[in-house]
Amino acid sequence: MVNFFLLILIYSGIYALMAIGQNLITGYTGMLSLCQAGFFAIGSYVTAILATSLGWSLWATLPVAALLSAMFGVLIGLPTLRLKGDYLAIATLGFGEIVRNVLNNWDSLTGGPMGIQRIPMATIFSFTINPYKKWAFLALVILIVVISYYLFERLGRSRMGRALQAIRDDEIAAASMGINVTKYKVWAFAIGASVAGIAGSLQSVFSLSVTPNSYTFMVSIMVLCMVVLGGMGNFAAVILGAFIIQLISYFPQLTGLSSVIPPQFKQILFGLILVVMMIWRPQGIIGVRSYRVGQKKSKAKGAK
C-alpha cells in the first residue's frame, strides 16, 4: 500500500513537470498545445537510446532530452504561432500522433512497437537510484520538481512572464507595447516542451523500458486536466492538480475496485473535468495567481 502510494507520488511528480510546462504555454501565454505526450516521448527515447546504446548516464542525457524537445517545439511553433487562431492546437494534436507513429515504425532506432528495454538505472555518486526502492527515486523526482517550480515561478514573475500574460490578454496591444509576440510565443512553447522532455527522461529511468504505447493522446489530456483543474497561470496549483489527477487515475487500483470500475471511467472523468471546470470554475480550484507584482510594495507601503 505504501509502495503504491509512493508510485502515485512519483508519477504525480513526473506529470507535474509536464504540467508546469503546459502551464507556461497555456496558462500564461494562452496557447493551446496538445502534445506534451509527444515531448514526453522524445525525452524518454533520448534517454533510453543514449543510455542503452552509448552508455550515457541519465545526467548527460537530460540536457539532450530538454534541448531536442525544445527544438521540436520550435519546429512546430514557428509555422503555427505567427498566425492568429488556434492552429497550434491542431498542429500539436497531429504532431503527438506522428511522434508515436515514428516511434512505432522506425524499428532500427526505437525498437518499433516493442520499444527499448533494459535501460540502466540512474546513479548519483555511485549510489544507484533503484526504482524498485521507491523512496530514493521519489526524492530525485521531488528535487527536480522543486527546482523546476522555482525556476518557472521566477520566470512567471520576470519580465518575460509578464510579456507572456500580456500576449495572452491581447496580442495586438502587446505588440504595440514593443513585445515581439511571435518570438515570445515560440520561446514559451519551447521552454514548456523542454521540461516535458526532462519528465520523459525521468520516466524512462523509472520504468526502465519505453514503448510507444505509453505516450498516447491521453497523456496530453491528463496534463491539460492538471492545469485546468489546479488553476491556469499558477504553478503551485498545477502541481496540486497533477497529484489529484494521478489519484483519480489510480483510484480503481488504490481502492481495489479495478474489477468493478471500467477502464474508461477515468478518461470519461477527465473529459468531464475539462467541460465542467470551463463552465463553472475556469480559474481552477485554486485559481488566482499566487503572486502579483506590486502587492508586496503596497503592503510595505501600508506598513510604513
Partner: protein, 306 residues
C-alpha cells in the same frame, strides 16, 4: 507512373477519399465560420454517427440477403443516423459551448476537447474497443471502365458526398435560413439586430455539420471499419482539409477535402511514401499551407479590427 489508366485509378481512389474528407470538413468550417472556434469533438461526433448507422442498419437488415431491401435499409439507416447525430451535435453545443460564448478564447476549445474525450471513451465503454465493419448493402464486386477498377462502394461515396454538398450549397445560398447563417457568420451582433435568432442559427449549424459527419462516418465504416478512436485522425485530416480550402469557406472545405484525398493517394501510390506514414502527409500539408498560404486556397485574409 505506369500509364494513363493507372493515373485515373489513383485519381478515382483519391477522389472518393477526398469526398469523405470534404463531408467531414464542412462541419468544421461551418462552425468556424460562425463561432470562430474549432470544434474538437467533431471527429467523435462522426464516430458516434458511424456507430448509430451501423447498429440501425444491422437491425433493419436482420438476416435479409443483399438486394433492394438492404440498399433501402442502408439509406434509412443513414437518414436515422444523421437525424440522431444532428441532435447530438445540437445538445453538445447547448451544454458545453453555449455557456462559454462570452468566456475567454481558450474556454470553448478546452471544453470541446473534454467533449471529444467523453464521447470516444463512452463509446469504448458502451460498444467495446474492437473495430466493427459496416456490411456492404450491395454486392461490392469491382467493375472496370477503360482499365480503371471501380468498386460500387466508391460510386456510392461519390454520389452521396456530391449530392449532400450540392444540397448544402443550395441551402446556404438560396434559403432564408441559409442567408441567416451567412449573415451570422459575417457579424453576429448585427445579425441579431436584424431580427435573426442567432441561437437557432448556431444550433442549425451544428445540426447540419453533425449530420454530414454522420453520413461521412458511415461511408468510412463501410470500407475502414468503425472504432471508438476513429474520430481523432479523421477529424484531424478533415480539419486540415478545411484549412487547405480556407477555413470558414464552404466551397473551400469541398475543394480542400478533395485536394487532401488526392495528395494522400498519390503520395502513397506515386511518391512511395510508406503506408504506415500515410497519416503524416496531411500533417505535412497543414504545415506547408500554414507557411505558404495560411488563408487557404479560397480563403480571404481577415484582419482584426482595431
Amino acid at each position: 507512373m505506369g500509364s494513363l489508366s493507372e493515373f485515373f485509378q489513383h485519381f478515382v481512389n483519391g477522389l472518393t477519399l477526398g469526398g469523405v474528407y470534404a463531408l467531414i470538413a464542412l462541419g468544421y468550417t461551418m462552425v468556424y465560420g460562425i463561432l470562430k472556434f474549432i470544434n474538437f469533438a467533431h471527429g467523435d461526433v462522426l464516430m458516434v454517427g458511424a456507430y448509430i448507422g451501423l447498429f440501425v442498419f444491422d437491425a433493419l437488415r436482420g438476416s435479409a440477403p443483399l438486394g433492394a431491401w438492404t440498399f433501402i435499409a442502408f439509406f434509412l439507416a443513414m437518414l436515422i443516423s444523421m437525424v440522431l447525430t444532428a441532435a447530438l451535435g445540437v445538445v453538445i453545443e447547448r451544454v458545453a459551448y453555449k455557456p462559454l460564448r462570452k468566456a475567454s478564447r481558450l474556454a470553448p476549445l478546452l471544453s470541446a476537447i473534454g467533449v471529444s474525450f467523453i464521447l470516444s471513451n463512452s463509446a469504448a465503454w458502451a460498444w467495446g474497443t474492437q473495430s466493427r465493419k459496416l456490411n456492404y448493402p450491395f454486392d461490392n464486386t469491382p467493375f472496370e471502365i477503360g482499365g480503371v477498377v471501380i468498386t460500387p462502394h466508391q460510386v456510392l461515396v461519390l454520389v452521396v458526398s456530391i449530392l449532400m454538398m450540392v444540397a448544402l450549397k443550395v441551402f446556404v445560398d438560396r434559403s432564408r435560413m441559409g442567408k441567416a447563417m451567412r449573415a451570422t457568420s459575417l457579424d453576429q451582433d448585427t445579425a441579431r439586430l436584424m431580427g435573426i435568432n442567432v441561437n437557432v442559427v448556431i444550433s442549425l449549424t451544428f445540426a447540419i455539420g453533425s449530420a454530414l459527419a454522420a453520413a461521412g462516418g458511415m461511408l468510412i465504416a463501410l470500407d475502414f471499419k468503425a472504432y471508438p478512436t476513429m474520430g481523432m485522425m479523421l477529424g484531424l485530416k478533415a480539419f486540415v482539409a478545411a484549412v487547405v480550402g480556407g477555413i470558414g469557406n464552404i466551397g473551400g472545405a469541398m475543394l480542400g477535402g478533395i485536394t487532401l484525398g488526392l495528395l494522400e493517394t498519390f503520395g502513397v501510390a506515386v511518391f512511395g511514401i510508406p503506408q504506415a506514414m500515410k497519416d503524416t502527409i496531411s500533417f505535412a500539408v497543414l504545415i506547408i499551407v500554414l507557411l505558404v498560404r495560411p488563408q487557404g486556397l479560397l480563403g480571404k485574409v481577415v484582419r482584426e479590427k482595431v
